[in-house]
Structure formats: C-alpha cells, structure tokens
C-alpha cells in the first residue's frame, strides 16, 4: 500500500528560490524523492534515479498538456514535439532533430570554432569585459542567427523572444504575464515567416525548401523555426555564462583544462551538472503510479527538478563540489529519453568552442559583479565582469 508523498509549502517559483534553488533542492530531496507542493499544485521529483526513470517512461509520465506550469502555454504547445508522446511524437521529433544531429552540424564545426576564438581574442585584448552581453549572449545569438538565417530586425529581437519563450513556461505570475505578449510576437512572426525571409544557404531556408518538396508536412516549417529559437537561445546563453563564472570561481579547474584540452567535454558536462540551465519542467501522470513507495495519483502534474537530481549524493559523490575530472556524462541537464534535448549536439559544439577559446587564449580569468535575476524556468547570470590575462 503506497504511502502519501511528503508535503512542503514552498513555492518553487518564488524569487529567492529561482536565484538560488540549491538549498531548497536539498531540503526537498531530504524530505523524499517525491514531494507534494500544494502551492504549485505539483508533485516534485527530487532524486536522480526517480527523475531519470520518469523521463524514460513516457507512458506513465506524459508530456501532453504538461510541460508548462500554466494552462495557456500548455494549450499553445499542443501539437509540438515538445508536448507530444510517442507515437505522435516520433515523426515531429525526427523533422526537428534532422538539422541538429552531429552529422547535420558537422559543416558548421569550423565556423563555430573560428567565431568562438575570434570573439574571445577580441574580448581578451580589453583585459576587463562584461561577459554576459559580450560573450554568453553574443555568441549563441550569432550562431543561431546564422543557422536559421535570421537577418536585420529579427536578429535584434532574438534575445527577448528567446527569453520570453522560456519565461511563459512558468506559473501565471507577473513574469509570465509580462512575457506572454513578447512570446506572442515570436509565435506570430514564425507563423508568417517565408523562405525569402531567411538567408540563402541557411538551415532555416533549407527547412522551407524541405516543406516545399513535401519532405515535411505543410505548415511545419514555421513551427520548427519557432522551436529552434525558443529552445536554443536562452538555455545555451545560460550555460556559457555559467562556464565563465565557474572557471572564475575555480581557477584550479580552469588550469586543468588549459593544460589538457582533452578535458573540454568533461568540463562542459560538469558545468551543466553543477548549474543546469533549466530549473523545472513538467510531466503529467497518466495513471496512479508508485514511485519509491509513494503514490502519485493519476492526472497529477509532476515537476522535474534537474538541479536537485544533479546534486543528489545518492548518485554523485560529493555533489556540491565542482570537479571536472568527474566527467558526469549522465547528468540530467539535457533531460533523458525520447525528449532528451534535440539541440544538445549544437549546444556542445558552441560550449566546447568557447571553453577551448578561453583555455587557449587566456592564462587566467577572474570574475566579479555576478548578478542573477529571477526567471521562472531558465536560471542564468545577467551580468558578470571578467578580468583576464592573455
């Protein structure tokens, strides 16, 4: 006979928790692997093994009308690969990820490396620079803009559109309300974008060509563009800011990468494990399910807490230590299973290029003035001053 879940009265989306969720993650994890949060009307999954199992079990933990924490965004996401389960999910996912596989991106590798190196070189010459606008945001925005073929006005909107697209996945708080119209602008633009709006030779233009050929369903090109921008900007920006901040806080770890560039992938994996960009993501229980002896009732909204799982001492020894030699290839920050981040190949290419550029161009890197502003879903640094020596 399954037990009732432990209960906590915290609000997952309170400002102070969003800025630093880790003490809350620890408290919830200690209460149980499943904790009922009445304030958010969710069952939170806190420990590594239950999160990974749930992400792999789409039949029990559905993505339909479940990803976000308000009904409007879940309504808007209907029919997307994000918010579908297999079998409907399978084809939607295939068309989305076709352009994001390591093979599809192989041609971009040199460009991404060269751009990362050029950017870091330019910034390093200044010796002191603001790392978020100038690097963490600038780099992914340029890469994604080139990939999709955005030009002009659209390029100028990418950052706020990408931020809003993630913000509206949160509950109906003020941040979400303020972001709805901005997210709506993105949606509206993607609904009317045509091939000619995108640069020739870009992957974005290629998606429209595929639609014209009948390789993908009519009307799906705009949706794919929308998902690339919505999912591929805010999160990558967060991860790059985190790379810089963590290397700044842990110069010994930065030194290890500088001495051995083969550690670049391990470094990124540990940055992602330590500070996952995504705070919470939703699922819905399709039936009564017992998780670690606790009942989650059919229909319950479930909140996946990636950062809680990534810091679970039951899975990672000394989890609150940042240590790149750990090489945590099984971290939860890209999710897992059928909905595992489709863009992770691109994210790795971008991040590895930045880490390599920092490690080869700089002999030291110090950080200060770190500012984090609360955001419902993406946890990122908004300002960070870097002092670097070449």
């Amino acid at each position: 006979m399954p037990a009732h879940a432990a209960v906590s009265d915290i609000d997952l989306f309170a400002d102070d928790i969003l800025v630093d969720p880790y003490p809350t993650y620890t408290a919830l994890r200690d209460l149980g692997s499943v904790v009922h949060l009445p304030a958010n009307d969710v069952y939170a999954l806190t420990r590594y093994h239950v999160i990974r199992a749930a992400l792999g079990d789409f039949e029990t933990f559905s993505s339909e009308k479940a990803i976000g924490f308000n009904p409007m965004v879940n309504e808007a996401l209907q029919g997307t690969s994000l918010a579908s389960d297999p079998p409907a999910h399978t084809q939607l996912r295939a068309t989305l990820s076709a352009n994001l596989t390591p093979r599809a991106l192989r041609g971009l590798g040199e460009t991404i490396e060269a751009k990362a190196d050029a950017l870091v070189k330019t910034l390093a010459e200044r010796s002191t620079f603001e790392a978020i606008d100038e690097l963490a945001r600038a780099f992914p925005l340029e890469i994604v803009a080139d990939l999709i073929g955005f030009t002009g006005d659209v390029k100028a909107n990418m950052l706020r559109w990408g931020q809003a697209a993630m913000e509206v996945i949160g509950p109906l708080n003020q941040r979400t309300q303020e972001s709805f119209p901005i997210a709506g602008e993105l949606y509206g633009w993607c609904s009317q974008v045509t091939a000619e709006d995108l640069a020739e030779g870009s992957i974005g233009r290629g998606i429209f060509d595929a639609e014209a050929r009948g390789d993908i369903p009519a009307g799906s090109a705009g949706h794919i563009i929308h998902q690339y921008l919505g999912a591929g900007v805010d999160t990558t920006i967060a991860s790059i800011g985190n790379i810089i901040a963590l290397f700044g806080r842990h110069p010994d770890q930065f030194a290890k990468v500088r001495e051995d560039l083969s550690l670049v992938p391990a470094a990124f994996a540990e940055v992602l494990r330590f500070w996952p960009p995504v705070h919470a993501w939703g699922r819905r229980a399709t039936k009564d399910v017992e998780v670690d002896g606790v009942l989650i009732p059919a229909g319950a909204h479930v909140a996946i807490l990636f950062g809680a799982g990534n810091h679970d001492p039951r899975h990672y020894e000394d989890p609150d230590t940042f240590d790149i030699s750990r090489n945590p290839v099984d971290h939860l920050s890209f999710g897992y299973g059928p909905h595992g981040c489709a863009g992770q190949g691109l994210a790795r290419m971008e991040a590895h290029a930045i880490i390599r550029a920092l490690a080869t161009r700089l002999t030291s890197l110090e950080v200060d003035g770190e500012v984090r502003l609360p955001s419902n879903i993406t946890r990122s640094i908004s300002e960070l001053r870097v002092t670097a020596t070449v």
Partner: protein, 62 residues
C-alpha cells in the same frame, strides 16, 4: 547479454561510441553500427556505460 538498438530513436549523438569505442561506432552516414552484440565480462561493463550514456535511451541490454 545482447546490445539492442532502437534505431528510430538514434540521432547519432555519439556518446555511446565515446563510452565504448570497441563495441560500436558511427559510420560515415552517422548511423550507429554495433560491432559487437554479445557481451560479457569487461565488455558488458562497457556496454552498460554506453547504454547508460545514450541521451535518448536508444540502447538497451537484453
């Protein structure tokens, strides 16, 4: 045990090949090729690592 690939799920991320290069590899078309299917002993440990690391859960051991 046998390594099994759910081919439609595979997207060529290649983390499996990094974990167990002697057991599998991505070919020139970035399709996964299982070079070894029956595994035990140390090979089984490596296969487990590859199964574990696949981000889209496309591999399993039966």
């Amino acid at each position: 045990m046998k390594i099994e690939l759910d081919r439609p799920r595979c997207e060529g991320h290649g983390l499996c090949e990094e974990a167990a290069p002697e057991l599998m590899h991505l070919d020139d078309d970035d399709d996964l090729v299982l070079d070894v299917v029956e595994v035990d002993g140390t090979a089984l440990d490596r296969a487990r690592a590859a199964v574990r690391v696949c981000p889209v859960a496309a591999l399993r051991l039966v």
